[in-house]
């Protein structure tokens, strides 16, 4: 399955057929630091993603002079 990462934008391939939380763990991403977007919907970490899926992991953190 395809995973879109941001800042900078890039795409990687990982194994599907498992839960979002397992993908996040493999990528060393804390679940609360990204929105998980499939199509035009948000999905939770317990959802299963399949080999043909594309998900975007959109970071939620902003910083600097706030």
């Amino acid at each position: 399955m395809k995973v879109i990462l941001r800042n900078p934008r890039r795409e990687i391939e990982v194994a599907g057929g498992r839960r979002v939380k397992d993908v996040l763990r493999e990528l060393h991403i804390l679940p609360e630091t990204v929105l998980v977007i499939r199509g035009d919907e948000l999905i939770t970490a317990d959802q299963v993603v399949r080999d043909g899926d594309t998900i975007e992991l959109r970071p939620v953190m902003s910083g600097g002079a706030r």
């Binding site: 609360e32 939770t44 953190m61 902003s62 706030r66």
Partner: protein, 300 residues
């Protein structure tokens, strides 16, 4: 995962609340948190004009969206920092948002006001870019509000921003900063407008989810100068704490506000006067903004 309210499919899990929500119920939750923030700190009157500081990012556009939804009379303020393509794109997002909702947007340019954009300020001052940027933002937000006769500025600071600021202040025991940290800063001088942070009860995950679910077109790319910023490092530390113990950030910030902040409030009032150059409020003779502008203009 099921929505706590309706039992439908959840789109977002909020571990610190031990809950998950579907999209409509999450949006309700979000609006209720903003209402509670406004009520608890008496941030805004229903009929007053609010200047909403917008950057094109998720927080400030979510804030503007929710305030419009709640029926507030608002004007947006975008400060063009002159940070390469990032500023071009973020300005475009703000203008599109304002046009789409038919609401006014003021654009002010840091380069025009200071004499150079943020990248130049960084070079001239040889200080971290966030330093001159933050100073310029605070000054210009206040001045634009005053010029327009608007008594309050609302900013998109969220729970993570506030927790990270608190963490930084405690790490260095900056007691002045601890005294000033609040979701609502009152006017302490005729030329200082109130500043409020209606999103302080909501995490970055929640403001991002709100912006996404409301189909707000915000800039996802980060400010190029934010990389390596101390505030980001503090957020990463707090995120690891949150992962190990959901609610840690909330408890850290809310515990300070409810139990500790009063201990840092000043017993002696700081004497405020008007800058001899621009007339804005300062504790010295010339305000920090005018000193910065002088430094930039001298160097260029």
């Amino acid at each position: 995962m099921k929505c706590r309210k309706c039992g439908g499919t959840a789109v977002l899990e909020l571990r610190r609340h031990n809950a998950a929500f579907c999209a409509p119920d999450f949006l309700d939750f979000f609006r209720n948190q903003v209402r509670e923030a406004v009520r608890k700190y008496r941030m805004l009157d229903k009929d007053e004009h609010v200047l909403v500081a917008v950057s094109g990012g998720k927080d400030s556009l979510a804030l503007w969206d929710v305030l419009l939804d709640e029926g507030y009379r608002t004007t947006g303020l975008y400060l063009d920092l002159g940070i390469f393509d990032y500023s071009v794109e973020s300005r475009r997002k703000c203008e599109a948002f304002a046009a789409g909702r038919g609401v006014p947007l003021i654009v002010a340019s840091v380069a025009e006001e200071v004499g150079g954009p943020v990248p130049v300020i960084k070079e001239v001052t040889r200080r971290p870019p966030c330093s001159g940027c933050g100073l310029s933002k605070r000054y210009l937000m206040n001045r634009v509000a005053l010029d327009r006769g608007i008594g309050v500025v609302a900013t998109g600071h969220n729970l993570d921003d506030e927790a990270a600021t608190l963490f930084g202040s405690i790490a260095h025991w900056q007691t002045d900063a601890l005294a000033r940290q609040s979701p609502a800063l009152p006017s302490t001088h005729a030329k200082l407008v109130r500043r409020v942070k209606p999103l302080y009860r909501l995490s970055e995950l929640e403001t991002s989810a709100y912006a996404f679910l409301r189909r707000i077109d915000y800039i996802v790319e980060e400010c190029p100068f934010a990389k390596g910023a101390t505030s980001i490092a503090h957020k990463e530390i707090l995120n690891r704490m949150e992962d190990a113990s959901p609610g840690a950030k909330h408890n850290f910030l809310f515990g300070f506000l409810e139990k500790a902040r009063a201990a840092f409030e000043r017993t002696e009032a700081v004497e405020l006067r008007e800058c001899a150059r621009c007339g804005q409020v300062t504790t010295g003779t010339i305000c920090a903004f005018c000193k910065l502008a002088d430094q930039v203009k001298r160097t260029l």
